[in-house]
């Protein structure tokens, strides 16, 4: 795992787990930590894929032959 992913995944999930040990509502925090860990696997996969594709801008644009570009 690269440093960036460690900072995000291990950092966030471990902090939540520590919080769960310390605070009331710890069961809830642990559930969220587990869910977050799964979601970050997905988010990091997109991160890795987009690394290096520096010219790609966010957002979707379509060209319609009869009209000016429609963007959203």
């Amino acid at each position: 795992m690269v440093l960036q992913e460690k900072l995000v995944t291990v950092g966030m999930v471990e902090q939540l787990s520590k919080l769960a040990e310390l605070e009331l509502g710890s069961e809830r925090i642990q559930i969220v930590a587990e869910q977050l860990e799964l979601l970050l696997v997905e988010a990091n996969a997109v991160n890795r894929f987009m690394d290096g594709r520096r010219t790609v801008q966010p957002g979707i644009r379509f060209h319609h032959p009869d009209l000016e570009e429609h963007a959203y």
Binding site: R28, V32, L39, A43, V46, M50, R53, P58, Y72
Partner: protein, 472 residues
Amino acid sequence: MPTVESLPSLTLAEVGERIRTRDISPVDVVRGVLDRIESLDTRLNSFIEVQAENALAAAAAAEQAIMAGYYLGPLHGVPIAVKDNIATRGELTRAGSQVLRDNLADEDATLVRRLRSSGAILLGHLNMHEFAFGVTTNNPHYGAARNPWNIERSPGGSSGGGGAAVAARLAYGAIGTDTGCSVRLPAAFNGITGIRPSIGRVSNHGVVPLAWTLDTAGPMCRTARDCAMMLEAIAGYDPSDLQTSNVPVPHYDDDLERGLEGLRLVLIEGFSLSGLQADVEAAMRAALAQLEAGGASIREVPVPDLEPSVSALLTLDVAEPAAYHGAWLRERPEEYGEDVRTLLEAGQLYLATHYIQAQRYRTVLRDRFAGVLRDADAIITPTVPFTAPPVGATEVRLETGDTVDIITAVLRYNVMSPLTGMPAISVPCGFSSEGLPIGMQLIGRAFDESTVLRAAHGYQQLTDWHMHEPSL
């Protein structure tokens, strides 16, 4: 002339035509579906609320208008229903939640206003996954909706009530909303036709959002023709929704009868037919043969860069709802169902960079699909790689032997359309050995709903999967 008992078996187009010619009365049509809802929906739970009195009053008014010569078009007098996240004036619009249990709408959603202007009669609000944030319609507040082909199976979601109601002939059409899969998945699981229009084609004004940059409403009906009629009624620019487009709305019916001849369809190499449940693969291969026999050409093309598509959709489809729900989540988290609450709470913790990378990926995927569709008319995939799982299932076992989370599993073929903004339709293309419906998806160019509707209609002229009726 059809008997009152047989009226619900007609398609939307058929019943509309008989109302136009005054063969049948809108009042009888509405009574027919209301009787059916009363006798069947205790088992299916497809509606959260039925507005029987309002529907009958609207039917009587429609009858009077038509008899006086004021005919509004093919939806006039036809009873339909909308998902519970779509506002109807003076009625509760709960989005399947407890959070919005007292949310009395002070105006119609734009799409509802347009349906009413077309003469359609609203039957009530349909069951859905809470806040449209899930794929099962296993709703903890209003009960699980069930699949009419087997009530132990899920109707899918999030517009599961619409899928079940239309399949069971409790409404001639429904409007669902689709953020990641929520019109097409229940269409496939329930054996009906459902179209997700291009983003910007249909106004979201008055629709409770899930993820702003992905959401769109779409029709769910028995046939592609019925979907075309409903789409034409609701589509078009809306000054109340800045995301809507001013691309002209065609008369979709004009293109339907052009048939399959000359249509250029493509399969994605190594993807469209891989990892499918055996029954789904067999149904897809048979459907491809029928499309070719009807005059369409089919070829395989490679489409790179698909790998992170489900991950990107999940990232957007958790981060955006987390932003929308932030205040409610802090103030009354206990009012959410467990699955939705957990996703929303976890979604608060994404980084901005995660979100932006996912939005940037959409540009990559859009370019790939636009490239393919420069030399083709539609891309074909199954809608879902498997048939409806049991009610309450949270995981599914794939053909590969892997057991995966149900959300990830159903998104495999569904994410392409919302990520790229392009329209996609799901059409019934067979049944499994267990008697469960199978859906085929056609993805088209942006704002070219006409072509996917034409392809779907052409296929439905050669097959009768869409005419099968569950025995309840």
